[in-house]
Amino acid sequence: MNKRIYLDYSATTPMKKEVLDEMMPYFSEKYGNPSSIYSFGREAKQAIDVARDRLAKAVGASSKEIFFTGGGSEADNWAIKGIAYANRNKGNHIITSKIEHHAVLHVCEYLEKDGFEVTYLDVDEYGMIDLEQLKEAITDKTILITIMYVNNEIGTIQPIKEIGKIAKEKGVYFHTDAVQALGNIPIDIKELDVDIMNFSAHKIYGPKGVGGIYIRKGVKIHPFIHGGAQERKRRAGTENVPGIVGFGKAAELATQNLDSHIAHVKRLRDKLIEGIQNNIDYVRLNGHPTERHPGNVNFCFEFIEGESLLLSLDMVGIAGSSGSACTSGSLDPSHVLMAIGLTHEIAHGSLRLTIGDFTKEEDIDYVVEHLITIVDRLRQMSPLYEGVKGGK
């Protein structure tokens, strides 16, 4: 297998050359500890400051409100546990949705075991929450609303501005996981009533293992990692200097190139969606038709199972992902596909292809061509397809 067509940009991205170039000096030359007072400790400290400014600028925040973490998941954990435990005296109720990332859902479940109450909002068939349901869910015990900006599986974009308004009106903190939003839609925190927002570098052509979090000034939150005085005493641990530098660069590139990035991936995304819809029967596009991550394609192919589809694609060099239970090794297919109302049978046959900056037009042709053959081959093998063929 020589061809490699990567269509899993929502899982992770390759690091851009500009990002790596900027990181390189901090591994073995400018390796000083940013907390030290000698010159080249200060060098490292300055590099972190630059990165912080860049990330702040990318999302319309002030640098003082940006902190670096060891990844997007750590930031989700920090946001939710940090707010929950710091505001326990005010209430023990949290509102989230059924389609959050596991880094949000599993934290909520953990908190439920520790005396918190969590409302999991429904979503409609496109993955949208209902603002009325949200309003009704808020009680005088509610301390936090946590609703993601852009869904990682089906790409649906939530009405963050409206949610923020509701939260603000009711005096409830609002956290949004913006890991899939950064670099894919414009973000301007100044325009939003968001109290906490988090990001991950490896989703925007930056390094793995580095995340960021915006914490609005004045928000009552506990630290999550206690220890040294790094990150203005809010996140302990020797800073991952090269990683942070890389994240800063990636954030800068992402905003500079945002328009062209969106135009590029959207065009290929629409081509891929059409290619599939025009050539393959019994498919269903998951997610919202318009309020959607510009590079997200998510289909269910009836009568076949996602893992076999992925393996077959892998054999011709195409990398995608699936919400099928067989892939994850768990009993149920993706909670997101369940929440938008798919039956188990159909959810098993899901395929997510996510497009990025290095995707080329001819890649899409290649993928559609192979998908047609592969889906047909797997359906010929499927006992579920037998009844259907005749009627066609």
Binding site: S308, C326, S382
Partner: protein, 148 residues
């Protein structure tokens, strides 16, 4: 993740299809759980002369079905009843732990088809005396390490 043998049987599955007027047909699993296997047997003089399968499932579900058909063609009905999921796994040079249940499905599909043959012909087959058709082998689906 998968051995070469698994990938071979997944990519070039043997004996895919249906047998018209099969002597025994068995189906196990259910679509809800993401796996269904259907086996068709042609039996002459107590010997399995042809097998075909259809499978809705993951890569290892398809591979285990494929190799199971190869393992029972030419065997006596009694021998085929003795096919174990472990033998299937071994023949495939192993499966990841979370995929062992797919091989159980293959074993069950063969048994279900032979059971159907026995029912149709009023036979009692050694090894199948206490057999009850099941379509749920999902206890095996959950295999993850405990979170403590």
């Amino acid at each position: 993740m998968y051995s070469e043998k698994v990938m071979d049987h997944f990519t070039n599955p043997r004996n895919v299809g249906e047998i018209e007027n099969a002597d025994g047909v068995g189906q196990v699993g259910n679509a809800k759980c993401g796996d269904i296997m259907k086996m068709y047997l042609k039996i002459e003089d107590d010997t399995i002369v042809d097998v075909k399968f259809k499978t809705f499932g993951c890569g290892s579900a398809i591979a285990t079905s494929s190799i199971a058909t190869e393992m029972i063609i030419g065997k006596s009905v009694e021998e085929a009843v003795g096919l174990t999921n472990r033998a299937v796994v071994e023949a495939l040079d192993g499966l990841p732990t979370q995929k062992i249940h797919c091989s159980v499905l293959a074993e069950q599909a063969v048994k279900a088809a032979i059971y159907d043959y026995a029912q149709k012909n009023n036979l009692v087959i050694k090894g199948l005396e206490n057999y009850k058709p099941v379509d749920d082998v999902h206890d095996h689906h959950d295999h993850d390490e405990d979170e403590e």
